[in-house]
C-alpha cells in the first residue's frame, strides 16, 4: 500500500512540470505578451523591471526552469497591471474566498446529491425515484449561470431571503451571503452525484456477490450498508476529481455573476486587462490543485478497491 502511494506521488511530479511547461509555452504565444522582447509600449523602468523579474535575457529553457523554481518557492512574479503587487499576493488574497465557495458548493453536492441517489436506488421506479431523477436532470442540464440569475432574481427581488451581493471576507466567516452562490455552483455537482450514486448502487445490487450475500442469510440492511455501499462508492469517489475540476471552472462564472472577489473573477478581468503574469499564475495554480486532487482520488481508490493495489499503476 505504501509502495502504491509513493509510486503515485512520484509520477505526479513530471506531470506538474509538464503542465507548467505547456502553460508557459502557451503564454509566450499570446500576442503582445511581455515575455518576449518585442515592441511594447511600456515605460523603460517597467520594462527593465520585467526583464529582471522574468529573466527575459536568458534562453527560453532557462526562463522556464527559473519559472518552475519560482513556482516551487511560491514566487510567481509581479502583476503587470497592479504595479506594486506580486501575483502571489493577489492569489493569497483572493484564493481563499474561492476555496470557501468551492467547498461550500461541494458540501451541498454531497449533502443532498448522494443521499438523493441512495434513496432513488433503494426505491427504484417509485415516485421517489422519478421525482429525484427529474430534479437531478434539471440541475444537470440547466447552465449554472442561468440558475444563478434565477436565484438572484427570486431571492433578491421577489423574496428577500438571501442577499445576492457581497461575500464574507474572512475564511471562516459564514453568513447568509454564501447561500445563493454556493447553491448555484453546487447544483450541477449535486445532480451529477445523485445520478451517479443511483446508477452505481443499482448496478452493484445486481452483482452476483449481492446474491451470494442474500443466500448467506445476511440481513438486507446490512448487505446494503456493507457490501453495496463500499462497492458503489468507488465510482462516486473517482468522480470527485473531475467534479472538483468542474467546480473550479464554475467558480469563475459564479464569482462574476455574484460579484464575489475571488480568484475566478480576478482571472476573467485579468484576461481582459492583459495582466499576463496573473493569468499564468492562476492557471498554474489551478492546474496544480487539480493534479493534486487527482492524486488524492487515486490513493483513495487504492484504499477502496484492493485490486488496484497489487497491479501496476
Amino acid at each position: 500500500m505504501a509502495a502504491f502511494i509513493i509510486r503515485r506521488i512520484f509520477w505526479t511530479i513530471p506531470v506538474i512540470l509538464l503542465v507548467i511547461l505547456m502553460i508557459f509555452l502557451m503564454m509566450r504565444q499570446i500576442e503582445g505578451n511581455p515575455f518576449q522582447r518585442t515592441q511594447r509600449a511600456v515605460p523603460p523602468q517597467v520594462q527593465a523591471n520585467l526583464e529582471r523579474k522574468f529573466n527575459l535575457d536568458e534562453p527560453v529553457w532557462m526562463q522556464y526552469l527559473l519559472y518552475v523554481k519560482g513556482v516551487a518557492t511560491l514566487d510567481l512574479g509581479p502583476s503587470l497591471i497592479a504595479r506594486d503587487r506580486d501575483v502571489m499576493d493577489i492569489i493569497k488574497e483572493h484564493f481563499p474566498r474561492s476555496v470557501k465557495l468551492g467547498i461550500l458548493a461541494f458540501f451541498w453536492a454531497i449533502l443532498f446529491g448522494v443521499p438523493a441517489g441512495i434513496i432513488a436506488a433503494l426505491k427504484p421506479n417509485t415516485p421517489y425515484d422519478y421525482v429525484l431523477m427529474f430534479g437531478s436532470s434539471i440541475g444537470f442540464a440547466l447552465p449554472s449561470f442561468f440558475i444563478a440569475t434565477l436565484l438572484i432574481y427570486y431571492f433578491a427581488l421577489k423574496v428577500n431571503l438571501f442577499p445576492t451581493n457581497g461575500w464574507p471576507l474572512g475564511f471562516w466567516d459564514i453568513d447568509s451571503r454564501v447561500v445563493l452562490p454556493s447553491l448555484a455552483l453546487g447544483l450541477f455537482p449535486m445532480a451529477y452525484f445523485a445520478r451517479l450514486t443511483r446508477g452505481s448502487m443499482l448496478e452493484t445490487m445486481q452483482q452476483d456477490y449481492v446474491r451470494t450475500a442474500r443466500a448467506k442469510g445476511l440481513r438486507w440492511k446490512s448487505i446494503v450498508t456493507r457490501h453495496v455501499f463500499r462497492n458503489s462508492l468507488i465510482p462516486v469517489v473517482t468522480a470527485t476529481a473531475p467534479l472538483f475540476g468542474l467546480i473550479i471552472t464554475g467558480t469563475f462564472i459564479i464569482e462574476v455573476i455574484f460579484s464575489i472577489p475571488g480568484i475566478g473573477r480576478y482571472f476573467v478581468s485579468s484576461v481582459s486587462a492583459r495582466d499576463y503574469s496573473v493569468v499564468m499564475g492562476i492557471t498554474v495554480l489551478t492546474s496544480i490543485i487539480i493534479i493534486l486532487m487527482n492524486l488524492m482520488v487515486d490513493i483513495a481508490y487504492g484504499f477502496l478497491d484492493p485490486r488496484t493495489r497489487t497491479s501496476k499503476s
Partner: protein, 336 residues
C-alpha cells in the same frame, strides 16, 4: 416426508413482454443424506427452481404463483423476508456458478466467511476466524491460515470455488444447493470439486441438490435425478435406473449425445444432436412441450394433450406419451 418437499411449484416472471412461466408445476423430494441432480439445458428453469426454494428470485418481476416448498416441516413460500433470512445460510445454503463474480472483490475472504458466522451464531471475531481457518482446511485450501486475509482475486478459479463451498458449509446447513458448481471450471478441477462435495456431504450428513446441464456431472454425483425441460420435470428416477433405462426421448437424446469411448455402447460416427430449439416460455403449450423436437411424435395426440408424470417402471416417472418401455412394438422414429 423428505427433508425438502417441493410440490407443484410455479414461478412466473411478469415482464413487459408477457408472463414467462419459467417454472411450471415442478415437484420433487430430497431425502436427508442424498443428492438430487437436476439436469436440463439453459433456460429450462432449473436455476429458477433453486432460487425459488430459497426465496431469492427477484421479487418485482418474479413471483411464486403456486405450489409449496416444505423444508424440515416448515412451509417456505409463505415466510416473510426476515424469516427467510434466518433459514438461508443456516439451514439451506447455496453456492453459485461463477466464483469470481459471486465473491465480493473488495472484501477479504476471512470477512466473507466470518460475517455469516457472526450473523447466524453471533460468534465473536476470534472464534469466527478460527472456525474460518478450519473450514478452509476442510475444503482443501493449502496454507489456510496464511491465506485467510487474502482477497478473492488472489485465488485461482478452483480455489475460489472451494472458498464458496467453505462459506456454504460454515453454518452446517442441512441442505446444500449447488447451482452449476463446476461449469466455470476446468475439467480437471471439476472432478476434484465434485469429489470434495461428495466427501463433505458424507461428513456432514447433508442433503444436496446439484444443478447442471452436464450428464457427466449427474453420473458422478447424483443419487436421484430429475430431468427438466421447458419449466417442467419430464423424467425422474434414481441415477443408475436413469442411465440404464432412459425413458423420455429427451433424456435419450441427452445421453445419445455423449461420446462413448468404450464399452458396448460404443458409437462411431456422428454424435446425435437434437434439432430445433426449446419453446418460448411466455405461452408454453399445455400439451407435451418436447413434441416439436421429439423423434417419436407422430400424428397422434401427444402434441395436443397434456402429459402427466406417470410411473412406467418402479420408482421411475416420465412425462411422455412415448416412453421407451412403451415403444417396444417396433416403433421407428419419425424422421422429419
Amino acid at each position: 416426508m423428505g427433508l425438502l418437499d417441493v410440490t407443484n411449484l410455479k414461478t412466473h416472471f411478469f415482464t413487459g413482454e408477457g408472463v414467462v412461466q419459467a417454472v411450471d408445476g415442478v415437484s420433487f423430494s430430497v431425502e436427508k443424506g442424498r443428492t438430487l441432480g437436476i439436469v436440463g439445458e439453459s433456460g429450462c428453469g432449473k436455476s429458477v427452481t433453486a432460487l425459488s426454494i430459497m426465496g431469492l428470485i427477484p421479487k418485482p418481476p418474479a413471483k411464486i404463483v403456486d405450489g409449496s416448498v416444505v423444508f424440515d416441516g416448515q412451509e417456505l413460500t409463505t415466510l416473510g423476508e426476515r424469516q427467510l433470512e434466518d433459514v438461508r445460510g443456516k439451514h439451506i445454503a447455496m453456492i453459485f456458478q461463477d466464483p469470481m463474480t459471486s465473491l465480493n472483490p473488495t472484501f477479504k475472504i476471512s470477512t466473507q466467511i466470518t460475517e455469516t458466522l457472526d450473523r447466524h451464531f453471533d460468534m465473536p471475531k476470534g472464534a469466527a476466524r478460527k472456525r474460518a481457518v478450519e473450514l478452509l482446511e476442510e475444503v482443501g485450501i493449502p496454507r489456510a491460515a496464511e491465506r485467510l486475509d487474502d482477497y478473492p482475486h488472489q485465488f485461482s478459479g478452483g480455489m475460489r470455488q472451494r472458498v464458496m463451498i467453505a462459506i456454504g458449509l460454515s453454518c452446517n446447513p442441512k441442505l446444500l444447493i449447488a447451482d452449476e458448481p463446476t461449469t466455470a471450471l476446468d475439467v480437471t478441477i471439476q472432478a476434484q470439486i465434485l469429489d470434495l462435495l461428495e466427501k463433505l456431504r458424507e461428513d456432514h450428513q447433508m442433503a444436496m441438490i446439484i444443478i447442471t446441464h452436464d450428464m457427466g456431472v449427474i453420473a458422478e454425483a447424483a443419487d436421484d435425478v430429475a430431468v427438466m425441460y421447458a419449466g417442467q420435470i419430464v423424467e425422474q428416477a434414481p441415477v443408475l435406473e436413469l442411465f440404464d433405462h432412459p425413458e423420455h426421448p429427451y433424456t435419450e437424446a441427452l445421453l445419445g449425445a455423449l461420446p462413448q469411448l468404450e464399452g458396448d455402447g460404443i458409437r462411431e460416427g456422428r454424435l446425435t444432436a437434437i434439432p430445433g430449439r426449446p419453446p418460448d416460455l411466455v405461452n408454453p403449450s399445455e400439451a407435451c412441450r418436447f413434441a416439436p423436437r421429439c423423434p417419436y411424435h407422430g400424428d397422434d395426440s401427444c402434441a395436443t394433450r397434456p402429459q402427466e408424470l406417470r410411473e412406467v417402471r418402479p420408482n421411475h416417472l416420465v412425462r411422455s406419451a412415448h416412453p421407451t418401455s412403451e415403444r417396444g412394438r417396433a416403433r421407428e422414429p419419425v424422421t422429419s
